[in-house]
């Protein structure tokens, strides 16, 4: 049996990805996390005199905190196994990536273990976010300077 024949056979037997089920789960959990975020935002606006603009940061920090606790308790792992992108894409998933890496590094000490590994998973998100922001802003600046678009 050559590799190509084998890959055909393997594909026949391997159960297909449950696309519909996964999409539904991602939609429900992702939507729910954003709804919770919306609720927290309203709480900040109504009870703590935050404005629409400033409540965003407080909400993000709160969601990150909740996800950190759930990660420590091992609950976010279960949520991630169930929801896939539904729990990975919200900022809580970013928190999960940072916190789980930090906890994992504990046995190698605070500096080399926690410090050296805390951005093991989330580092690429930060790098590409910053890199992309740099180039987008640069392009926009060039275009504005050239008089093609306005700010």
């Amino acid at each position: 049996m050559d590799p190509q024949e084998y890959q055909q056979l393997e594909q026949q037997i391997t159960p297909p990805t449950p696309y519909v089920k996964n999409v539904l789960k991602a939609f429900l959990v992702g939507g729910l996390i954003c709804t919770i975020g919306q609720a927290i935002m309203y709480l900040y606006i109504i009870f703590f005199d935050f404005t629409d603009k400033t409540a965003g940061n407080a909400t993000t920090a709160t969601m990150v905190f909740i996800a950190a606790v759930l990660t420590g308790l091992g609950i976010y792992r279960k949520l991630g196994a169930f929801a896939g992108a539904g729990s990975a894409v919200p900022v809580t998933g970013f928190s999960n990536a940072v916190v789980s890496a930090a906890i994992e590094g504990r046995t190698e000490g605070m500096v080399l273990g926690v410090g050296g590994n805390i951005f093991k998973l989330a580092g690429s998100v930060i790098l590409f976010g910053v890199g992309s922001a740099f180039f987008v802003a640069l392009i926009k600046l060039i275009l504005v300077t050239a008089g093609v678009v306005k700010w």
Partner: protein, 331 residues
């Protein structure tokens, strides 16, 4: 390469130590010791891993009523970088030691080396086996333990278990190793590290067919051919390969997989168990005991190993795999 052991080295005693989650294994009642703490009271997972290996080896020596000074060789491996858990266990055991790496196939490659040393007359007693600890392996090969990600149906759960066997001179009342096959490294181009069964099945097929050919045997000459950790899906693929090569459907029942059966039908474990300790803990508990009671007279144990690293996967390499086999008989 098939090796015939004319002196038929015997499995004198076996010892299996497992973690708390392994209480859910269908083979649980055959294990010698199951820990309450997955770190064995140690500070790190890796230290716990090491402690578990020591415990399994201590059980082996206790059962055989010998001390570490009586053992000539300790042949073992695990999946952590540079195999530190095994190396550190060897330090405590103070037995002449060779570390072996065949990934999850180490459980059998170590027995083959032990049998060779016994056949040579160089070894009176040799402890051979392998181990894996879930947390230590997962953090190395995949994600941090508390990171949430979706596993496909083909994913397998690394077991926390250590399985060791004491190999000595032939004893007609004990299971004896009559032949062993050292597998080639086979790579059919699988790249998905969450589909190990699919990557390893061709290696198992290659090793089993080589063994049968050299021994002039059919699959039905065995009471059981058990693979290490192909998982439920990998076993199906292996059976399909043998079906295509002309084996009868009813004869394929001879094939079983330790990883596929390990956690029963619990879907939380997806396709089943994996890890060096998976085949080691099943072969050196359940299988050994079934041989001793005479339920099986002739078995072929085929441990499978995926020879990848997180680095090789990230560099876009395919997953090379191997399988080593031992034929054990009971007179």
């Amino acid at each position: 390469m098939v090796i015939l052991f004319t002196s038929k080295p015997s499995i004198i005693a076996c010892g299996v130590a497992a973690g708390p989650l392994e209480q859910r294994s269908v083979f649980y009642s055959y294990f010698d010791s199951v820990a309450e703490d997955e770190r064995w009271g140690q500070k790190s997972n890796e230290q716990g891993h090491s402690k578990m290996i020591q415990e399994a080896c201590d059980i082996v020596m206790e059962k055989a009523k010998i001390k570490n000074l009586d053992v000539d060789f300790f042949l073992s491996g695990d999946l952590v970088n540079q195999m530190t858990p095994t190396n550190f266990a060897a330090r405590e055991l103070a037995i002449s030691f060779i570390g072996l790496f065949s990934a999850c196939a180490t459980s059998v490659s170590s027995v083959i080396v032990a049998s060779l040393l016994t056949e040579l007359g160089a070894s009176q007693y040799a402890i051979a086996g392998a181990a894996s600890q879930h947390n230590a392996i997962e953090r190395q090969f995949r994600y941090p333990i508390n990171y949430g990600f979706q596993k496909p149906a083909t994913a397998q759960w690394t077991v926390t278990a250590a399985g060791y066997a004491l190999i000595g001179k032939h004893d007609p009342n004990l299971p004896s190793i009559v032949a062993g096959t050292v597998g080639k490294v086979v790579d059919y181009g699988e790249v998905n590290p969450l589909h190990m069964g699919g990557a390893m099945a061709p290696a198992a097929y290659d090793t089993i067919t080589s063994h049968l050919k050299k021994r002039h045997q059919k699959i039905t000459d065995y009471d059981l051919i058990m693979t290490g950790d192909l998982g439920k899906i990998g076993l199906k693929i292996l059976k399909a390969m043998f079906a295509q090569s002309g084996e009868k459907q009813e004869d394929l029942e001879i094939f079983r997989d330790a990883g596929g059966e390990f956690y029963g039908e619990d879907e939380k474990f997806q396709a089943g168990a994996s890890g060096a300790g998976c085949s080691a803990s099943v072969f050196f508990s359940y299988i050994e005991q079934q041989l001793k009671t005479g339920r099986f007279k002739r078995v072929l144990l085929v441990a499978t190993g995926a020879l990848l690293s997180p680095l090789s996967y990230q560099q876009g390499e395919t997953i090379p795999c191997t399988a080593h086999a031992i034929e054990i008989t009971m007179e």
